[in-house]
Point group: C2
Chain length 204, copies 2
DNA sequence: TAGATTGTTAATCGATTAACAATC
DNA sequence: TAGATTGTTAATCGATTAACAATC
């Protein structure tokens, strides 16, 4: 049996992956734990330790091949494929995410838009039409969707999250400023600009 | 001399504050470390320990007065005031943040919009006009702005962050998918939907 | 009073770092 | 070879939890 990997280690892998994409874009082919650490503000020892949970990806004396390490971390995080996502709540933020170019090549694609406002249903954003939230379960099953982003008002967020879980969604990225409860086996990540801002004002 | 407060503790205060706002909205007047912990998925002991870094806010046998604790945490985080913010990069996401209603009453307000696209400069969003990034330093000083949100393309983000710091910005919330370097004394928080999503796909 | 809950201490647990043999 | 860097171990550091006296 393999050791369980600490969540905090898994949480750093996307950061490493992002830095590796940057290096690839720059044309850099080789890096080291020291170089990566300096770029990310993380110790070299920690990067090596984190990677060692998953295997041996470097060469003594040389460092890491950027493309290879990128492939390996992509595989570990299961983003060596494209996860179809549902986007629920098509307000300003939902629209922005529907058009966001940053999902491509990082493992994700928005494939279905939902709202509960009859005035919005049927409208198109790019090549997707906004659907009624009533069709969530049907569409999630048809398209085998496991991931959803929630950009609904805070007061509706828990109810919509429950609908998602019932429909078979396993991972929710929540933009509403509220902590969601989901059953064992489902995952939530919260993203709230204000909590990030408040974490900084303490130090000002 | 007071003990320094661990960053990780400061980072949880905004979560507590958000839960307290929720309770206030619900009309709940009293809570306990157990109740808060259950809502947030955090142990009661940890909540009590975290709060104890800052003072004594509860009553044995009773728990915490929601309004009082909310006031105290707001004060600790310095969000018992309104921080004026600059928003730089008025694409889809920038527009959505410019219109976002969630800053009000949580300590922040967008007061200035910047872009470098001549076609956008002069356009209004709500009651704010988009200004040239060339005016950043001038406006930041005039309005005593210390906080900025960056919604610019990744390739420009570091350059714009440097401009911000030079202009006197002390806290940056970065939406570009890149790790920014800022000098000692300035703060950055990163927010990237893809890193959150990638952290979940590992477990799927 | 009896029950509940705080604030705090000490023990436990887990994460980070320093150091180094292995080796490219 | 000499210099550099990995992967890993052990030591250190820090965070979380359990437990409980104090007390509302």
């Amino acid at each position: 049996m393999t050791r369980p990997i600490p969540d905090i280690v898994v949480g750093r892998l996307p950061i490493y992956l992002r830095a590796l994409s940057f290096l690839t874009a720059e044309g850099t082919q080789v890096t080291s734990s020291h170089d990566l650490g300096k770029r990310l503000g993380i110790s070299a020892a920690q990067i090596r330790k984190d990677l060692s949970f998953f295997g041996e990806f470097g060469k003594q004396g040389t460092g890491y091949n950027v493309g290879y390490l990128q492939e390996q971390i992509s595989r570990i995080l299961k983003v060596d494929r494209e996860w179809p996502m549902a986007l629920i709540g098509i307000g300003d933020l939902g629209r922005a995410l529907a058009r966001y170019g940053g999902f491509a090549h990082r493992g994700f694609r928005v494939v279905a838009l939902f709202d509960n406002d009859p005035a919005k249903i049927g409208q198109a954003i790019g090549d997707l039409k906004i659907m009624s939230i009533d069709r969530l379960s049907e569409v999630v099953q048809e398209q085998n969707i496991r991931v959803a982003m929630l950009t609904v008002p805070a007061k509706d967020a828990q109810k919509v999250a429950d609908l998602c879980v019932a429909a078979g969604i396993k991972a929710i990225l929540n933009y509403a400023p509220i902590t969601l409860k989901v059953p064992e086996g489902a995952l939530v990540q919260h993203t709230d600009p204000v909590t990030h801002l408040q974490r900084m004002t303490y130090y000002l």
